[in-house]
């Protein structure tokens, strides 16, 4: 009986201390659905950051345990995943989601539950601010927002590409593309340009011949295609087949290893970082990522913007937890608001809407390669 009691006591203590020594971080990524390459990159970036912290002893003596859920870039699965990790797993921190259309509903659940959500890549402003325009207390993001991105695209089209007429095509059911299209239109008109056509499609479309025929008719000097890489591949290939050589411009949704570089030759897109950036944060990550992840041919992988932002978001969170000194989401939130962090994607500080103030990179596609074009400061 005595031996049994001792063993039971040891086991209970072990369980208690094991539980207390873990920091649970949930990761909501679109591992299936329309943009699985985004999900994979996000997962790889976040897990690499967690692995590096754990190798140095975790944070505040606690081992960091990631809980990965597939949120499919869509509202319903994301909400289900968020409910599960908050209620069943009891996490205080969520890194996610990638797509604005999923991050916004997740933030509506996380904020009242005092769970910190840092979205690595959702660019729609409504992720961090509520309908009244006030910042949601516990929601942050690691990337710039669409009004900034759309505005820079309009500026770039007007000054660099010298475009007077622009054509906009976007997915009407996607918060991300709608936000970017509106921001672009507003800024382009302000700079004196004219929008000669505005066409919508749905995310399931594969045949864009009708819209491309309209583009040919309207003769713009630039076409805005602010969608994800899967749609971009289809549109640019069909455009080349129809003999349309107008440059397409787009946002960070283009960034993927699955992007068809031959079809999108001559196009530009805005992104969060460039691997040619000589800063030591970038070069260190490139080495660590290539060592941790290899592609099918056995070469070390190069992180895309999704991976970089997930890495930065996770590091932001863990740095804030360390600064706060405890696993208490209110204290961590305060630490995040005051943080000044040198991330791979740039120096990150938060403004009062919990959006980072950081720079943007423009990339161009030429001869089957993605090239660094320019950096734009806020």
């Amino acid at each position: 009986m005595k031996r049994f009691l001792i063993i039971a006591l040891v086991l209970v203590l072990a369980v208690l201390t094991a539980g207390a020594a873990d920091l649970k971080v949930a990761l909501l990524a679109p591992l299936s659905g329309p943009v699985p390459s985004f999900g994979l990159s996000t997962k790889e970036g976040a897990l690499l950051a967690i692995q590096e912290w754990n190798a140095k002893g975790g944070v505040l003596g606690m081992k960091i345990v990631p809980i990965v859920e597939d949120s499919q870039c869509t509202a319903d699965p994301a909400v289900n995943a968020a409910n599960k990790v908050i209620n069943q797993d009891g996490v205080h921190y969520i890194i996610g989601e990638v797509c604005s259309g999923a991050s916004i509903p997740v933030s509506e659940i996380a904020n009242p539950a005092k769970v910190i959500e840092i979205s690595p890549t959702s660019t729609n402003p409504n992720v961090t601010i509520d309908k009244a325009g006030k910042a949601k207390d516990y929601i942050f993001r690691a990337c710039y927002i669409d009004p900034f991105q759309g505005g820079i695209l309009a500026q770039f089209s007007s000054t660099r590409l010298k475009a007077k007429n622009a054509f906009i095509m976007y997915d009407q059911g996607n918060d991300y593309t709608v936000g970017l299209a509106n921001a672009f239109e507003a800024q382009f008109k302000k700079l004196g340009g004219k929008i000669v056509g505005k066409e919508t499609y749905t995310s399931k479309d594969t045949d864009f011949s009708a819209i491309l025929a309209k583009i040919k008719d309207a003769k713009p000097q630039v076409v805005l295609l602010p969608d994800y890489y899967n749609i971009v591949n289809l549109v640019t290939k069909q455009a080349k087949e129809k003999g349309i050589i107008v440059p397409f411009v787009g946002g960070d949704g283009w960034d993927s290893t699955d992007l068809d570089l031959e079809a999108s030759d001559g196009c530009y897109y805005t992104n969060h970082y460039s691997k040619d950036d000589p800063r030591k944060e970038v070069q260190n990550l490139l080495k660590a990522y290539a060592a941790a992840y290899q592609d099918d041919a056995g070469n070390g992988k190069v992180p895309d913007a999704l991976a970089v932002l997930a890495y930065d978001a996770t590091n932001l969170l863990l740095t804030a937890v360390k600064a706060a000194g405890s696993d208490n989401s209110t204290k961590v939130k305060v630490a995040l608001e005051k943080i000044s962090f040198n991330g791979v994607s740039g120096k990150i500080t938060f403004d009062k809407s919990h959006n980072p103030v950081k720079s943007l990179t423009i990339l161009s596609i030429k001869d089957g390669k993605i090239n660094f074009d320019s950096v734009v400061q806020p």
Binding site: S32, P36, S37, T202, D207, A210, L234, E241, I245
Partner: protein, 376 residues
Amino acid sequence: MPANNETKKASGTATARRSPPLAWVGWAFLILLALGTIYYIGSKAWVNPTLFLQNFLDGLKLGFVYALIALGYTMVYGIVKLINFAHGDVFMVGAFTSFYAVSRFSLHLWPKAAFPGIDPTLSTLIGTLTVVLLSMGVCVILAVTIERVAYKPLRDAPRIAALITAIGVSFFLEFFGALPFVFSARFIPYKSPFPTTAWFIKDGIHPIVSGTASPDNTISFSNIFLIIAATSILVQVLLQFIVKKTKIGVAMRAASYDKSTARLMGINVDRVISFTFAIGSAFAGLGGVLYAIAYSSIYTQLGILPGLKAFVAAVLGGIGSIPGAFVGALIMGQAESMTMGYISTPMRDAVAFTILIIVLLVKPTGLFGEPAQEKA
């Protein structure tokens, strides 16, 4: 006994022919809708005939691909009275098989590797044919397996059981394929076995050089369009020949009239059904490869929409009728293309499925379909 039969027959025809009152309201609405559409598109075509012709060509491209898929639906329904919802996913498997053959194994390059001095065009041709035949073969094996495993045991069960099974097989193929060790859930950029070239028509046919613009107000088309059109028409002719002139074709027609009597006549109905599934899926696989070359982004749920639209096409043409499926598919392709060009792109699926509703309300047997025959 004879008296009984006659009265039965008389009353049967009487109840079948009486149409509901106010049917003319429905007919009038439809005729007005048809006239309105013709006027709207006609006026737009008058103003810009080049754009209309371009939309017409794009509609043909879609229509011919749907025709390849619709053939499978209609043939299977004709014999087994089953709407094989998994057919669209066999189409998807065809696309993926050709993708792996081209990108992983470079199968389209084998003539060049085996005979280094061979003419490059001939090499591409043979290589592509090999890839296509391989995809068709895989689809045939898949479809026959599905038929033996999922549909055959339910042949005597109520038809709804087989229908639900078909839907289940469809979902299984899609989501099993999305697993990381199978096809993965990614939108994969498809690598075509031969390069696509395009031409534009203005004072003769000129090629569009990649990176240059084609002049305004010209119609353009690509080599994949020509291949799709030629293949679809050839398949149609081939199928008509098989069904009308060969022994297996006669057996298929016999089995579609009456399975038990066909069995009595010495026809191995199981073999005929498997053959029907095989042919239908071979063409679906072929359609999958062509669709992937034309719209080069493939993913496991690729087959859902084209499959559904092909099903609507088969119903429109008269399910069970092979020429009907072909004509129905061409109509569906045109409807989709004209909607995209003159109304808006998001409306095209709405229009496609509205056609289904209209067909079922007005003439459920379709354009070429025969009304259900009385069993003597």
